[in-house]
């Protein structure tokens, strides 16, 4: 090839303006608030006529102002603007944006280094879990006895949806965020993600979306349930505008992150890292990313339609104008079911990785495990209407959707086979990650089996909309995904901090959370079987005992999670030093120093076999 490519230009350009080098989280907030005020001011003058009916336009403009300001303030638009003007970043600029020689300050900036982004994701996830946790405790406190005493039904209703959506967001990023960013590029032998700036963009977009979502609490919450069914959502106050804008922004974040993850894995693998030598967690990450790329645009459109309904008097979901909630339900669940696997697959893939290392054995039937994840991701795209069995929408499709849904149990079954098969006849090292993994196996069976009931249409016509459903997906989300996420945290914590996560506190936390989950959601199954509906601020005396047990269990989960938080904070500061490869694992992230240097490898490794062969040398390494 005779042409020189554009990217090869390293002509000395003037460095990015001095202003760009002073941007950080604080300037982002300032700019966000300023533009939010501008949006509010404009909205007031353009639309406000003194009636609450028009407050939505003002709210939406204010929030768009916030988002735009936040992006400008954090520096997300610097690069596109410079591109427009034909001034690309120099190498020095790129090093600066990667956080080179900036100490802790780099965690507060638009930093492109994938390890910084990974740590930022850990913090964001913990923050979201805290908010969702407070709301969960408020909900369970209200439900400790029948009647409305702690909060009335208005406040209760405004909590439940925010709890749901905040936790969904937290779990979507809980594994793929921190570890897909921190360890995944090292695992494949890359020096960074394919698009480092997009990496930072996805993180900070998530932050701005999360602030808007949590901000919903300040404007009267979201009294519509987390599925924001079209008709009821149209009735809600400004909280619904916050929600819709948060989702629209969040979709930008996931799309950008997914594109980045997929491109990184496909194009950045080091020499010899063929697809059948990929660590299985990397497979989990890209399958998830591909699924997210497909699924979240539906949510984007669902909520954009909602915004139109509320600000431009359209009638997508307004029955009087010919619209229908079923449209919203279809769009929502076209995203909603794939999203469950977006949450689940990274956790499962991380556990495959952990099980192999901890059992000192290769991942059992690696190809089948990858195949199962692919099949699961594919199936999840064609099962969405099982959430609508009782909606009255297209009853003739119940049969087909029941078939596709129940087929899911086959790939899910393979997950168990792979996990237990990997541990079988191993020398299982009972460290903290392993303990949480066994908790996962126990809970995931419960969540999985109850899923079979719900996919059966006749049974669903009794169980739909009850606490049984709530218990089912909490066994999946809390009992399985959260356990997997904590196992991953315990496993990779030494790589991030150079220290072990405190074993004793971790186990104490495990037993509190594990028993709490059994009490809370086990009793919740019984409430649901008896016929207690979801999302109710009060309930009949028939459900008194099971709800009391659930609340006690919830406090145990809370205590356990707080102990874990204490363990993370103390271990990060003064835990037992671990060295670069505490688990004697073969994957590449353990072969680099801890903490990994900027750009990870001075010399890119060449891979000659997959990382799952354990022999005497790996013991003594």
């Amino acid at each position: 090839m005779t042409t020189t490519l554009e990217h090869a230009t390293t002509m000395a350009q003037p460095k990015g303006g001095g202003l760009a080098r002073h941007q950080n989280f604080a300037t982002a907030i300032v700019a966000g608030v300023v533009l939010a005020w501008v949006g509010w001011f404009l909205g007031r003058h353009l639309f406000w006529n003194g009636s609450d009916n028009w407050s939505d336009q003002v709210t939406i403009l204010t929030l768009l102002g916030w988002m735009l300001g936040f992006w400008i303030g954090i520096g997300a638009f610097n690069a596109p603007f410079q591109w427009l003007l034909g001034r690309d970043n120099t190498r020095a600029d790129n090093l600066y944006y990667a956080g080179d020689k900036q100490g802790r300050m780099r965690y507060w900036k638009f930093t492109t280094d994938h390890k910084v982004v990974g740590v930022q994701y850990i913090i964001v996830t913990m923050g979201l879990l805290a908010v969702g946790g407070i709301l969960a405790m408020a909900i369970r406190t209200e439900l400790i006895t029948p009647g409305t005493h702690f909060v009335n039904q208005q406040v209760y209703n405004s909590f439940i949806a925010i709890h749901g959506m905040v936790m969904i967001l937290a779990l979507i990023v809980a594994v793929a965020g921190p570890w897909g960013n921190f360890v995944m590029p090292i695992m494949i032998g890359a020096r960074d993600m394919a698009f480092p700036r997009l990496n930072a963009l996805s993180l900070w977009t998530l932050v701005s979306a999360a602030t808007v979502l949590v901000g919903t609490l300040a404007v009267g919450g979201l009294p519509v349930g987390w599925v924001v069914l079209g008709t009821i959502a149209n009735q809600a106050g400004p909280g619904m505008d916050f929600f819709a804008v948060a989702i629209v922004i969040f979709t930008v974040s996931t799309t950008v992150a997914s594109v980045n993850l997929i491109t990184t894995v496909i194009t950045m693998r080091t020499r010899g890292m063929t697809l059948d030598r990929l660590p299985i967690f990397v497979w989990g990450t890209i399958i998830t990313a591909a699924l997210a790329l497909y699924a979240f645009p539906f949510f984007f459109v669902a909520e954009a339609n909602q915004i139109f309904d509320r600000t431009a008097s359209t009638s997508f979901y307004v029955a009087a104008g010919g619209g229908t909630s079923w449209l919203q339900a279809n769009l929502f669940w076209l995203m909603g079911h794939p999203e469950v696997y977006v949450i689940l697959i990274p956790a499962v893939a991380a556990l495959f990785e952990i099980s192999s290392t901890m059992a000192r054995k290769p991942v059992f039937s690696y190809r089948t495990a990858v195949g199962a994840m692919v099949v699961l991701a594919g199936l999840s795209a064609v099962v969405w209407a099982h959430h609508m069995f009782t909606a009255g929408w297209a009853p003739s499709l119940s049969g087909p959707f029941m078939v596709t849904t129940e087929l899911i149990s086959i790939p899910t079954g393979i997950f168990f086979l792979v996990l237990v098969g990997t541990l079988w006849r191993g020398n299982v090292w009972m460290k903290l990650p392993t303990v949480w993994m066994f908790g996962f196996i126990f809970n995931f069976i419960v969540g999985g089996v109850t899923g079979i009931y719900l996919s059966d249409v006749p049974l669903d016509e009794q169980l739909h909309g009850t606490m049984f459903v709530t218990a089912h997906f909490h066994y999946i989300f809390v009992g399985s995904v959260l356990f997997g996420a904590i196992a991953a945290l315990a496993y990779w914590f030494p790589k991030v901090s150079g220290r072990y996560l405190n074993e004793f506190l971790g186990r104490l936390s495990f037993w509190l959370v594990f028993s709490g989950v059994q009490l809370t959601f086990g009793a919740m199954f019984l409430s649901g079987l008896k016929g207690m509906p979801r999302r109710d601020a009060s309930y009949s005396f028939a459900f008194e005992h099971t709800n009391f047990i659930s609340t006690i269990g919830a406090y145990m989960i809370m205590s356990g999670m707080l102990v874990l938080l204490g363990a993370v904070i103390t271990s990060w500061r003064s835990g037992e030093p671990s060295g670069p490869n505490p688990w004697r694992a073969n994957t590449l992230e353990w072969q680099v120093p801890t903490p990994p240097p900027l750009e990870n490898f001075d010399v890119l490794p060449v891979i000659t076999e997959d990382p799952y062969h354990f022999d005497e040398t790996t013991v003594n390494a």
């Binding site: 229908t324 909309g465 013991v619």
Partner: protein
């Protein structure tokens, strides 16, 4: 070495069998103990399905639990430091195919049963069902009986006659759920959705909203009564005519 492995395998099988037995016991007991008393053909089918599926799930769940317990008992590394490498087993085609075959067979069974039950629920057995118009609104159900002037906030149904509910909503989406009858369908504004069921037991039952519908959703319920046909017609005629 070989014998101890065999011995430990035997303990695995025993654990599996015992756990399965416990699972089957729970399957037979829990639904009957905790599910609301069945008052219609659909509710009976629901109960049977619940028990049957639980029994099917028992060996699968028990197998995984027995496997995990077996690993905890026999394959845990009890020494200090890094465990030595274990046998580097990567595949077992036999295990894989038998596992997939077994789960496929169970899935197909569950599917066939479920599709059959679905057909049984959807099929209408009566050519002359009692029609009840159900209106959901925030946060009350009202029931009207076409052909009469009766509108009521309570639902009266005659025993052993198929009922066709025509459900709609005046505002947002509600979920019409006859708790003891095992049927539910959403009440959608501007749309009429239909469900059938045949009450087959006298008594009082609960009508609930199971789709979140706003401020007082938790309080949106109604009482239903299944009465003899004679009582039903006398109740109808005792009701005041409403506009």
């Amino acid at each position: 070495m070989e014998t101890s492995a065999k011995k430990s395998l035997r303990s695995f099988y025993w654990t599996w069998v015992i756990l399965t037995a416990v699972g089957v016991g729970l399957s037979l007991w829990l639904p009957r103990r905790y599910m609301p008393a069945a008052m219609s053909n659909d509710a009976h089918l629901t109960m049977t399905t619940m028990i049957l599926f639980s029994i099917c799930a028992a060996p699968v769940a028990s197998g995984v639990y027995a496997g995990a317990l077996h690993v905890l008992r026999h394959h845990r590394y009890r020494g200090d430091g890094v465990p030595p490498p274990a046998p580097q087993i990567r595949e077992s085609t036999k295990l894989l195919t038998s596992w997939i075959t077994a789960s496929a067979i169970l899935t197909v069974f569950v599917l066939v049963w479920g599709l059959g039950a679905l057909a049984a629920e959807n099929g209408s057995s009566s050519s002359n069902p009692l029609v009840v118009n159900v209106t959901g609104q925030q946060w009350v159900w009202t029931f009207s009986y076409p052909g009469t002037h009766v509108v009521s906030d309570e639902l009266y149904l005659p025993e052993n006659r198929e009922v066709e509910f025509r459900v709609t909503s005046l505002d947002v989406t509600h979920g019409f759920w006859l708790v003891n009858m095992g049927v539910q369908v959403d009440a959608n504004p501007d749309v009429i959705t239909t469900i059938h069921t045949t009450p087959d037991k006298l008594g009082v039952f609960e009508v609930r909203c199971e789709q979140f519908c706003g401020l007082n959703h938790a309080f949106m319920d109604a009482v239903g009564y299944v009465v003899t046909p004679q009582k039903f017609s006398s109740w109808l005629s005792a009701q005041p005519a409403r506009a």
